[in-house]
């Protein structure tokens, strides 16, 4: 078989084949609310840390589902856990615990 080597060019495309289902289910078992986000962006809009730094729970959840946990962790590391996002979330997501759970589940320990 001839390998044309296109695979060597890194792709920025989201590759859902890389999605780690077991890990995701592990997260969802700890905080089931990860499933119910409807991506309205309220959390990002009110974020205290977001004033200073790129922080987005909405995007982090998306990244987790798009097999890019490193990006998600990068987006959450500035979080101050102030809880404003939990006050505005229209789905009533337990955001603080979700953030802690994402970091806890996907961080390399």
């Amino acid at each position: 078989m001839v390998d044309f080597g296109f695979g060597l060019v890194p792709s920025s495309r989201i590759n859902l084949d890389l999605f780690d289902k077991d890990k995701y289910e592990e997260l969802a078992a700890v905080e089931p609310d990860v499933r119910i986000c409807m991506a309205c962006g309220s959390c990002t809009a009110v974020c205290t840390a977001g004033k200073f730094s790129t922080t987005s729970l909405r995007e982090a959840i998306e990244d987790i589902k798009n097999a890019q946990p490193t990006k998600a962790l990068e987006l959450l590391k500035a979080c101050q856990l102030c809880g404003k996002c939990s006050m505005v979330c229209p789905r009533g997501i337990n955001t603080r615990h979700l953030i802690l759970s994402i970091i806890n589940t996907y961080s390399i320990k």
Partner: protein
């Protein structure tokens, strides 16, 4: 007393008490001796191990505290009040208090008096080699009363011993009754005893009835008073002259032995650990780990009494009973890591269990420590704070936020009101609203109105949003991360040049007060600040025809002890009615940031319970002084299904300046 004793001794020259069994030993003492020896060894080793686990500095602090007159007084007061008389339980639930003090104080007195008797009449027996370990306990078995020579002194002790035995028995009777009908003693929920608990519990129940049995059987030999002699006569009436008493003494000893042997594995360990915990607590030593060191004393000092079950706001739903502090501590003892975490995360951190705990076990602190074991090590990056604080800081002070506003919104400098700190000469007031308050603009607006009405020149520190106070991080157990946030905030506030920092959010208030150590800056909650404005006459207020009820936010009331000022101010504004639970018994609104995992349905059940308490006396307005409570209650009054709640929810400042 002494001269009287001498006089009596002279009257009766012959020995009053004769050592009936010269060897001072009988086989029946074996079970008791084994039990108590085991328990004493256990606690001895435990104490040494525990003190060894405390950091050196804390240990030193502990030893020193034992010799400080102030702590000595406090220790004595607490030991007597908490361990023996159970004053705290008396205050809340008198019958329950009676039960506990009857057993604890009564038993304590029986032991003390028993030893005094031995010391007075057969002092040689106090020596450990001559049976000192068990002799005073079974004193009545070993002696014979010289009938012609009973003195007033002897009768006095007989009376006391019988009196305290009866006292203990009444406590035991209540305890047995409580096991089946706890509500009568004021407890809705009681703890589920473990196996060791049951062994200890049933033997404890049996000890005193058996003691009565044993002592009454021997009362015609060894003497007694109204109780034992009376019962003795009854036995004689029933069984004739021959009383076969040895089995009773055996049973009594076995029960004692069983109790002491089971003690280290049961909740009754608290009887002894409590002493150590009170000493450590009064020495001011904080736990660094949820199980080791001081925490160990703390968790073994928990008596599993279950008062925290009724206190816990989560327990409006029976399914949440398992998350109560008493079970949290039980699982800490059992090292059940998975369950411990789940329980630690669920709690609202309202601190009510701590406030009501008869032994002052600070379970929320233990939960925080437990959360820290999981969350403290998680990565974070707050490097942005350093640049945010330094770049936003102008050469002077106070300008920072106004300048931001001007620059970002294209407003000319003229559009910025001249409230910058540099220009004001009166006390410089900085108002910090906090993250949550930005979602409750009513508070911001009303505070502004109040300040303007009172002519307070102030700067709104986080008009454009600020940095979080750090308390939510601490509540989640992220102590290190919190320290970074606190440092950044502290720098900004200290450099602002203010001398009074006013906070409207109790969550911020607690952490600013306790962790910031702001040099030269007075940190006050707006309820305190506004109350001062009213008292000093700067803020004129008018009493209106309105029925108000005040909700104590957890972090403000139990957290910072601010109960008086908001009520004082509200009394000037309307008629303040009582909630069914208030002050340190106030029920969390359900919106607390403390819980990590409690879901919205459970939270709304708590809100309902809290509302029920507040609505007990039909107020027109619920007043609170916390953005979270305000938002939670505002949502709850309209969302509670199947009922019409006609009450408005207002912020404290909103009531002051409508």
């Amino acid at each position: 007393m002494t001269p009287l004793f001498h006089l009596l001794a002279a009257q009766a020259a012959d020995p009053e008490v004769i050592d009936r069994i010269p060897s001072g030993y009988s086989h029946f003492v074996i079970p008791f001796t084994i039990g108590i020896t085991f328990m004493l060894c256990w606690i001895g080793v435990g104490c040494i191990r525990l003190l060894y686990a405390i950091p050196q500095a804390d240990r030193l602090k502990f030893w020193k505290s034992l010799f400080l007159p102030k702590t000595i007084v406090k220790n004595l007061k607490d030991l007597f009040g908490d361990c023996l008389l159970h004053v705290k339980i008396w205050q809340r639930k008198p019958l329950l208090g009676y039960m506990h003090s009857a057993i604890a104080f009564g038993w304590f007195m029986l032991i003390v008096l028993g030893h005094i008797e031995v010391a007075l009449f057969v002092p040689a027996r106090l020596n450990v080699t001559r049976g000192g370990l068990f002799y005073p306990i079974f004193y009545r078995y070993f002696v014979w009363m010289n009938p012609g020579h009973t003195t007033l002194r002897g009768s006095f002790f007989f009376f006391l011993m019988d009196f305290f035995l009866l006292y203990v028995l009444s406590g035991i009777a209540l305890a047995v009754f409580k096991r089946f009908r706890s509500i009568v003693l004021g407890m809705r929920h009681t703890t589920k005893p473990s196996f060791a608990d049951r062994v200890a519990l049933y033997s404890l129940w049996m000890i005193f009835p058996l003691r009565l049995l044993a002592e009454s059987f021997t009362a015609d030999l060894s003497g007694g008073s109204f109780l034992t002699v009376g019962v003795n006569h009854f036995w004689h009436f029933l069984f004739g002259d021959k009383l076969w008493f040895t089995p009773c003494w055996w049973a009594y000893s076995i029960c004692l032995g069983l109790f002491f042997a089971a003690m280290p594995f049961s909740r009754y360990m608290h009887i002894l650990t409590e002493v150590l915990w009170i000493l450590l607590r009064n020495a001011g030593i904080q736990p660094h780990h949820p199980r080791k060191g001081v925490a160990e004393a703390e968790i073994y000092a928990c008596s599993s009494c279950g008062l925290c079950l009724d206190a816990c706001p989560m327990n409006v739903q029976k399914k949440n009973l398992k998350y109560s502090s008493v079970y949290f501590i039980r699982f800490l003892r059992r090292h059940n890591e998975k369950k411990i975490n789940a329980i630690a995360d669920k709690c609202l951190m309202c601190d009510k269990c701590h406030a009501l705990c008869p032994v002052g076990v600070d379970a929320p602190a233990l939960r925080r420590a437990q959360r820290a074991t999981v969350n403290n090590a998680l990565p974070y990056d707050y490097s942005y704070l350093a640049s945010a604080v330094s770049s936003g800081q102008p050469s002077g002070h106070g300008r920072v936020h106004s300048r931001f506003a001007a620059a970002e919104y294209g407003l000319g400098p003229a559009a910025v009101p001249e409230t910058a700190l540099t220009e004001s000469k009166s006390p410089r007031v900085l108002y910090f609203a906090g993250c949550m308050t930005h979602l409750t603009p009513r508070i911001i607006k009303s505070v502004d109105k109040v300040f303007k009405a009172a002519g307070v020149d102030y700067v709104f520190a986080d008009r454009e949003g600020g940095i979080c106070c750090g308390r939510p991080l601490m509540l989640a157990g992220r102590t290190e991360a919190a320290a970074v946030v606190i440092e950044a905030n502290k720098k900004m506030i200290e450099e602002s040049g203010c001398d009074t920092l006013v906070l409207s959010c109790p969550i911020c208030f607690k952490v600013f007060k306790e962790e910031y150590h702001l040099a030269g800056i007075k940190v006050v909650h707006y309820t305190q600040f506004i109350n001062d404005l009213i008292i000093s006459g700067r803020l004129p207020v008018q009493k209106k025809e309105q029925k108000l009820v005040y909700h104590d936010p957890c972090e403000l009331g139990r957290g910072c002890g601010v109960y008086f000022e908001p009520r004082a101010a509200l009394n000037q504004l309307g008629t303040l009615v009582k909630a069914s639970k208030e002050y340190d018994e106030s029920i969390c609104c359900g919106g607390s940031l403390g819980s990590l995992t409690l879901d919205s349905r459970d939270r709304s059940k708590i809100s309902e319970a809290s509302l029920d308490s507040l609505l007990a006396n039909d107020p027109e307005t619920i007043v609170t002084a916390c953005p979270l409570c305000l938002k939670t209650f505002s949502e709850a009054v309209s969302n509670v299904r199947g009922r019409d709640i006609n009450v408005s929810v207002k912020d404290f400042a909103e009531v002051v300046c409508p």
